[in-house]
């Protein structure tokens, strides 16, 4: 019973399938339990994680952002063009990073302003910005990938530090930061409250408009960071990068246990969700499953996780998750 309570409290439900799949893969493929393989997995999920961190916070606060994928692309393109315009030298790297983050945050703030001041539903607004930003990325890059960025810059997020891939370190550090923000700061508290009942929080005298701008700004900033990591690891800025990233981020967040309607969120759950998705993808590769089936499998995984963690499932059929994790169905 205590294990159940602990599992529920710390959102460890996904550990079970993760262990099962990892064990299965170690047996099924000789290439799984391999340092290089783990490095690959880490690098692949790092970018998803960075975006999903912001998405976790945003969804907990009752919002959603479909424009993060385009954000990633536009950030990369702008930073690449910055170097194309002839920037060089030690200072340029710092400037480039600030530029990238700045673009990301700016996009987020614009989303936040439209959503809070013009009262446009988040889904619709970010759907619009998603397409707009993609268009801007295509224009700014003339529709072609941009290369030729100095190594000094690329090495910021590419390679290893103390034996661990830099993207993974970045993702882990940001995870700790965002988890801290969500659980230990007034901003995080307000976010949870707004996601739970925005009207009440407004009546309590809290600045809802300000909060929303900050929330979306943070998501945008993290997407910008993801754009920087992607661009440096690929050494290329692609205008079409980041496609589907927003949906993967949302999937991973929901799989991890954060409720889509807001009010409750878990960073650890999101990390597990990303890990599970990464393992499944890795497994499909190692087992030489034909590429055309990958999308199907990933889709089924997401559907499966979401159904299992849904209230109706846990309520009517004492679902697998309830048995393992003792997750509480929400009260009426």
């Amino acid at each position: 019973m205590r294990i159940r309570a602990a599992v529920s409290r710390f959102h460890l439900e996904l550990l079970f399938p993760i262990i099962v799949i990892a064990s299965g893969l170690s047996v099924a493929s000789p290439h799984f339990l391999n340092l290089q393989n783990f490095v690959n997995i880490g690098n692949q999920i790092a970018i998803n994680v960075i975006i999903a961190l912001g998405m976790t916070l945003l969804i907990t606060g009752g919002g959603i952002d479909l424009s993060v994928g385009s954000n990633v692309a536009l950030t990369g393109v702008i930073v690449a063009q910055f170097f194309q315009m002839g920037a060089h030298g030690a200072g340029s790297v710092l400037l480039a990073i600030l530029l990238g983050l700045g673009v990301g945050v700016a996009i987020g703030v614009v989303n936040g302003l439209i959503i809070s001041l013009l009262e446009v539903p988040p889904f619709i607004c970010t759907l619009g910005t998603m397409t707009t930003l993609r268009g801007l990325a295509l224009i700014a890059s003339n529709g072609r990938p941009i290369m030729g960025m100095p190594d000094r810059f690329l090495n910021v997020f590419y390679g290893f530090a103390a034996g661990i891939p830099k993207p993974v370190i970045t993702a882990l550090l940001l995870s700790i930061l965002v988890a801290f923000i969500l659980n230990k700061t007034t901003f995080g508290r307000k976010t949870k409250a707004i996601g739970g009942n925005e009207r009440c929080v407004r009546v309590c005298g809290i600045n809802i408009v300000g909060m929303k701008i900050l929330m979306y700004g943070l998501v945008g900033g993290l997407a910008g960071m993801a754009g920087l990591v992607l661009t440096t690891t690929m050494a290329t800025a692609e205008p079409l990068a980041g496609t589907w990233y927003e949906l993967e981020a949302i999937a991973v967040v929901v799989m991890g246990g954060t409720l889509l309607e807001g009010g409750k969120g878990t960073i650890l759950g999101t990390l597990f969700g990303a890990l599970l998705l990464g393992l499944v993808r890795n497994g499909l590769n190692l087992l030489r499953v034909h590429a055309t089936y990958h999308t199907l499998v990933v889709g089924l995984l997401i559907l499966f996780s979401v159904v299992i963690s849904s209230d109706s499932f846990a309520g009517t059929t004492r679902g697998l998750w309830s048995r393992i994790g003792g997750r509480n169905p929400s009260k009426k």
Binding site: C200, N207, G263
Partner: protein, 505 residues
């Protein structure tokens, strides 16, 4: 009785152990206009909801033309010709008059196509019968003035072969002239053999249009009698109010301090869009001011305007004699005004959040350093005030939705105390709370005022207001009466003012 159309006999209904209707008999004759009169909570809506099939009686029978019937749902009620016209009218604003009249029962030509010509003819005929040929069948209902919308609602029911019309506060949004038109239509309905149940707090109107009355009090029928020259509003009020034992409400005996809040000639719009104006009152330290009035008169809206949740159309606020602008709840919080909303679940609490966190929502700066929360400071702050409200510690870590209504209300009140509000507004503070918790909340309110706080209560429960307040104002349709000192006003006098009988200065 030969001409009795409807008989409801010995109707009983309770909600969660509280008896709402006790052996109620209701007789409706053919072609009569029957006034159903009583205070808030007397049972009028419950009785009518049973008649309309919205809820079921626990005991009792209903006879239509001497045949017993069972009204299982609104559809069945409609089948018997029982037509409810609620205050919201239930029309689709985006559709035309004709479309509304025939909604769900459109006339067809050859099965598939609409027979617009026939529908239009019938629409015009019915409207003419109701003395309203000026209402155009193709007009969008949403564009019509309220009075005409009401006529359309009546017409729709007529078309549904309605024989018994139940009208709930029909004149609430009508001018004098429109009311006269409505009365003409009601008389026409009577002449055609339809009966009308007229529910209203406007006693002068009730006396004018009704042939008979049934007065309800606390779920029972007090009297059922014919209208005549001897019956006047005083008589009705006496019957509605009766002689009752004044309930003992605990209240503070602290001396009131200096003026904290003054409201001057405030004007705002109520839910129906009508302008409420010339609201002036003041609240002092250690004082409980109660504003009461009938439901719908604008009390909640007054509270909302004070909190910046509703647009202030005119008037000004003064706190400590300094003018202040309150345009949003943020301004209100800054001025240390706390608010306990009428709707706990929608506005008062974040249900999925733990009670403790609900309590500290307005006080985040006090429990954090540089935005980082301190759980020890938070716990200390909360437990400091918990005992005064006898809130148990184990509730703190429970989600707000798991608490009872009374405890939920305590959480909201605690939030105001913890944020050190000087002025606390409570809108219907004991609504939806069981009797035991009610008196506890009342006691808490009394105690709050002893702590130098200025309390404003907005309540439709006159006994509550009389019991707790030091100063009472009465909000009526004609304006605000008061201030009355506690003890200067008794229950009957209060009722008389609320129902617009006398002006007390």
């Amino acid at each position: 009785m030969p001409d009795t159309l409807l008989r409801m006999e010995k109707i009983c209904k309770s909600f969660g152990g509280i008896l709402a209707l006790k052996d109620v008999d209701f007789h409706l004759r053919k072609g009569e206009v029957h006034g159903l009169v009583g205070e808030n909570g007397a049972g009028k809506s419950t009785l009518m909801k049973i008649l309309c099939g919205i809820i079921q009686a626990e005991r009792g029978k209903i006879f239509l033309e001497d045949r017993e019937i069972h009204i299982a749902n609104p559809h069945a009620a409609q089948g018997h010709g029982i037509a409810m016209i609620p205050q919201e009218l239930l029309l689709v604003r985006e559709l035309t008059v004709m479309q509304n009249l025939f909604l769900g029962r459109e006339l067809r030509a050859q099965r598939v196509f609409l027979n617009k010509k026939k529908m239009r003819e019938m629409t015009e005929e019915i409207l003419a019968n109701l003395d309203s040929p000026h209402i155009h069948p193709n007009a969008l209902v949403g564009t019509l003035p309220k009075a005409n919308q009401q006529i359309v609602a009546i017409a729709r029911r007529l078309l549904q072969k309605g024989r018994i019309f139940i009208m709930d506060e029909p004149t609430a949004a009508l001018t004098q002239k429109e009311t006269e038109t409505l009365f003409r239509i009601i008389r026409k309905l009577s002449a055609a053999g339809c009966s009308t149940v007229y529910i209203s707090h406007r006693l002068e109107e009730v006396l004018e249009i009704c042939d008979r009355f049934t007065v309800l009090r606390d779920g029972s029928v007090v009297k059922d009698f014919k209208n005549s020259a001897e019956v006047d509003t005083q008589a009705l009020i006496c019957l509605m109010v009766g002689s009752r034992i004044e309930e003992e409400f605990p209240h503070s005996t602290a001396q009131r301090g200096r003026e904290v809040l003054r409201v001057d000639h405030l004007a705002f719009r109520n839910y129906q869009g009508a302008l409420v104006r010339d609201i002036s009152f003041s609240i002092h330290e250690s004082e409980v001011v109660g504003i009461t009035g009938l439901v719908g008169v604008g009390k909640s809206e007054l509270g909302q305007t004070l909190m910046g949740l509703r647009k202030r159309i005119a008037g000004s606020f003064f706190i400590d004699a300094r003018p202040v602008t309150i345009r949003s709840p943020m301004d209100a919080l800054r001025n240390r005004i706390g608010y306990v909303s009428e709707d706990r679940r929608e506005e008062g609490l974040v249900l999925a959040l733990e009670s403790q966190y609900n309590m500290t929502l307005s006080s985040l700066p006090q429990i954090s350093t540089a935005s980082v929360l301190s759980s020890s400071r938070e716990r200390k702050l909360v437990t400091k005030f918990m005992d005064r409200l006898s809130m148990k510690e184990q509730y703190l870590d429970m989600e707000a939705q798991q608490l009872s209504g009374g405890n939920q209300q305590k959480v909201v009140i605690l939030r105001q105390i913890i944020s050190d509000a000087r002025i606390i507004l409570l809108d219907e503070p004991t609504k939806g709370i069981d009797v035991g918790a009610k008196s506890e909340v009342s006691r808490i309110i009394g105690e709050l005022s002893q702590g130098k706080k200025a309390i404003l209560i907005l309540s439709s429960e006159p006994r509550e207001v009389l019991g707790i307040s030091d100063i009472i104002y009465v909000l009526t349709l004609t304006g605000m009466q008061g201030p009355f000192k506690r003890g200067d006003l008794n229950y009957s006098q209060l009722m008389a003012i609320e129902f617009g009988q006398t002006r007390k200065n």
